[in-house]
């Protein structure tokens, strides 16, 4: 089953390599991964879309947590969350196709962000379904290029920690104040 996991990490050199290396080294899938800054300049937020059975997802969240630079892991899958991705779609658009393209964009509340005599570039934001749907409609016009950010997601209520597992190890909370003389 597909899971969407958000991972708060230290904004340090090499962290992305640690995370992606973990996935490749242990044979876990990454369907998409996006990284960006947070309000705190010392951290970054990753959204990882992955797939696997319960045992694999449990390993993924635990292994992510085990990485020293990972601050928090939340598996959003079982909760209410909002997800978005943004796509830029460059299509062939000449003559009457231009009107058709505009109509399709309008239906999806997409925007034309660039236009040349032969092309339009359409920007669309939504979940994967919506992007899939507009692609289907645009296909007959001829898609020249397509690029997509990958999914980002945010929990609707305050995010509970991923799996406070039965062993009592909050698989994902780490005490920020822990210290050792």
């Amino acid at each position: 089953m597909q899971h969407i996991i958000s991972v708060l990490v230290e904004n340090k050199f090499g962290v992305l390599a640690r995370v992606s290396g973990l996935f490749s080294g242990r044979g876990f899938n990454i369907d998409s991964l996006s990284v960006g800054p947070t309000l705190d300049p010392t951290t970054s937020m990753m959204t990882i879309v992955t797939a696997g059975d319960d045992r694999i997802i449990e390993q993924i969240t635990k292994q992510l947590n085990k990485l020293v630079d990972v601050i928090r892991v939340v598996d959003l899958t079982d909760k209410e969350y909002v997800e978005r991705e943004t796509a830029l779609i460059k299509i062939h658009a000449q003559d009457e196709d231009r009107g058709e393209a505009l109509r399709i964009a309008d239906i999806f509340r997409a925007r034309i962000v660039d236009s040349t005599p032969n092309t339009y570039t359409i920007e669309i934001t939504g979940d994967s379904k919506k992007i899939g749907a507009i692609l289907n409609l645009l296909k007959p016009l001829g898609i020249k290029e397509f690029i997509c950010t990958g999914r980002i997601a945010i929990a609707r209520e305050e995010a509970r920690v991923a799996a406070v597992r039965e062993e009592g190890a909050p698989a994902s909370v780490k005490d920020r104040r822990s210290s050792l003389a």
């Binding site: 020293v68 210290s179 050792l180």
Partner: protein, 584 residues
């Protein structure tokens, strides 16, 4: 006062209580060696190959429980350590590796002796870092030691560019350390521990399966208390040997692929398995679908990822083994479970298994048997030596026939299975215990992989005793070829070279040889008497196989005890060569 990066490094090592550093110099770490030249408190051991230095640091760490420290140069110096780093990672050995790096302005330029060491070691260190500013150095080192030694221990690498070593700054030692994204869980969940006590009170056929985590957390007394209070028998993994007294009546011996019959049968038949600081490795479980079909499982481990990784367990407890066992013991004691009568029937059943298939071999009066040599070493050291091994049949025989009385006295490469581990690890262990007897039980194939470290042993007069179980073969490979490849001994024959006695003498060590049963005691006496490093070439039966054995993919109750009859003992191809060896 301002100090250079190199001076700060040494000052930090001192404050961490480091007594010994192993390593090798080179262009970019010379500033550190220049500081070491005047250093009085820290002893530097010059290995002969950085891999050897790495295993020395591991041997030191396993003998003391403190991080071993390795200092090498950039590029080839650093890449030579990778095997040792992976080895330490697999066996959770605390280690701090300091690598020199080309100056920061050259990083990424394919400079002379540049290698992306942080990139190369990212998947095989617990943590690693490149320090680009001398002002961050002390903090980085503090974190390195903290991360290496806490939680589930492991190797941490710090990469230090030459300009950082030369740059000067005001030295401020960070007295405390805190890493916001890292805090191991030490105290187990109380409710879960109560569940474990509950399981114990209900069990009829319980067994404790303990591993290296008991040694890392220093929990051998708590383990002994638990076993003696509840009368639950104990089996240990190869990494756990020494965590429970080898001669204790409740001890079943090692479990797993070459474990004892009674340990594996007890695991197979158990209704409760209490896993303590062990991780259900495939060499332990055999085929997981056949593993312990009737058992409830309690799993105590500091690493949450170990739990449910290979085997689904019923009562998972994340925490430091010592802390958790203390609490469990208290609950058992106060609830009266501790004073339970022994599990009579279960103990009898286990005793039956012990009688049915004890560890056995047949010395006879011709060829020297490897097991006999190890038993003699055990007898003559009364189970009190620190024993290291290489990897192969001899390693398993050492694990089977040497009864370890004390913790941290069996040092071997369990997870990675690194040939060539034994000699340098023995040197490291000897550095930690200058007055103890350290014996390396080596393989003739393995030992040459790091034989150069004999020079190190001689140079520092570290009196390690290397007992080579010389079967002229990559014995474990030969055994598999005999059992699973119709005796086609493809590239597993090692033959007569080198002459280990002459080789040892060339290094300045004492070389001895025994080829007959009657010679074993004499050479061991001589070896333990002299106060120099000694190598003994024990020429043993090349065709002795290591039993019992669970063939890969089989269950615990499917052990094999002797050579199957339909398998020829000698390969027709190599017979001639092997005969030549025997008469040599």
């Amino acid at each position: 006062m301002k100090l250079s990066g190199a001076q700060i490094l040494i000052e930090c090592l001192r404050r961490e209580g480091v007594k010994v550093v192993f390593g090798y110099p080179g262009g970019v770490n010379l500033p550190i060696f220049d500081v070491l030249y005047d250093e009085k408190e820290i002893e530097f051991i010059l290995c002969r190959h950085e891999q050897g230095g790495g295993h020395m640091a591991e041997g030191y760490a396993r003998a003391t429980g403190k991080p071993g420290v390795l200092l090498v140069t950039s590029g080839p110096g650093a890449t030579n350590t990778v095997t040792a780093i992976v080895d330490a990672y697999m066996d959770s050995t605390p280690m701090v590796i300091i690598t020199g790096q080309v100056p920061t302005h050259l990083i990424g330029n394919d400079a002379f002796q540049e290698a992306d060491v942080v990139g190369i070691t990212r998947p095989c260190t617990k943590y690693n870092m490149l320090v680009k500013d001398v002002n961050d150095l002390a903090q980085a080192l503090k974190e390195a030691f903290y991360i290496a030694a806490s939680g589930r221990p492991g190797p941490v690498l710090v990469d230090l560019p030459k300009d950082v070593l030369l740059a000067k700054t005001e030295f401020k030692y960070p007295e405390t350390v805190s890493v916001r994204s890292y805090s191991p869980i030490l105290k187990g969940n109380r409710w879960q521990i109560k569940q474990a006590a509950e399981e114990i009170s209900k069990a009829r056929k319980p067994v404790i399966y303990a591993g290296g985590g008991v040694l890392h957390s220093g929990a051998w007394q708590e383990l002994l208390d638990l076993a003696e209070m509840t009368h639950i028998p104990v089996t240990l993994t190869v990494m756990g040997l020494g965590a429970f007294p080898g001669q204790h009546p409740l001890f079943l011996g090692m479990l797993g692929m070459h474990g004892t019959y009674c340990a594996n049968m007890a695991m197979h038949d158990a209704d409760l398995i209490i896993a303590v600081g062990s991780r259900f490795d495939d060499r332990v479980t055999g085929k997981t679908s056949l593993f312990a079909p009737n058992a409830r499982i309690v799993h105590i481990d500091i690493d949450p990822t170990s739990i449910h990784k290979n085997i689904k367990v019923h009562v998972p407890i994340v925490g430091d083994v010592k802390i958790v066992l203390r609490e469990l013991n208290t609950i058992l004691r106060t609830s009266g479970v501790g004073s339970m009568t022994p599990f009579r029937e279960w103990i009898d059943q286990i005793a039956g298994w012990k009688r049915e298939h004890p560890l056995s071999y047949n010395q006879g009066d011709s060829l020297l048997k490897p097991q006999y040599v190890i038993e003699k070493i055990y007898e003559m050291t009364h189970g009190n030596a620190i024993v290291t091994t290489d990897v192969g049949q001899h390693q398993m025989w050492a694990a089977q026939y040497y009864m370890f009385n004390r913790p941290r006295t069996f040092i071997n490469s369990g997870g990675l299975g690194t040939m060539g581990y034994g000699l340098p690890a023995a040197i490291g262990a000897q550095m930690a215990n200058r007055d103890s007897l350290v014996v390396c039980i080596a393989g003739d194939g393995s030992v040459v992989m790091n034989i150069q470290e004999l020079a190190t042993a001689v140079a520092y007069n570290l009196q390690v005793k290397v007992a080579i179980i010389n079967n002229k073969y990559l014995g474990m490979v030969r055994q598999w070829q005999q059992l699973f490849y119709n005796g086609r001994y493809s590239s597993s024959f090692m033959g007569d070279s080198p002459d280990f006695v002459k080789l040892s003498e060339a290094f300045g060590a004492v070389g001895l040889r025994a080829t007959k049963v009657g010679e074993v005691e004499g050479v061991l006496e001589e070896a333990f008497r002299v106060t120099t490093p000694v190598v003994i070439d024990f020429q043993v039966d090349p065709y002795e196989n290591c039993y019992p054995m669970i063939p890969a993919g089989a269950g615990h109750n499917e052990m094999v005890f002797e050579d199957p009859e339909n398998i020829g003992k000698k390969s027709p191809v190599k017979e001639e060569a092997a005969e030549g060896v025997l008469t040599a």
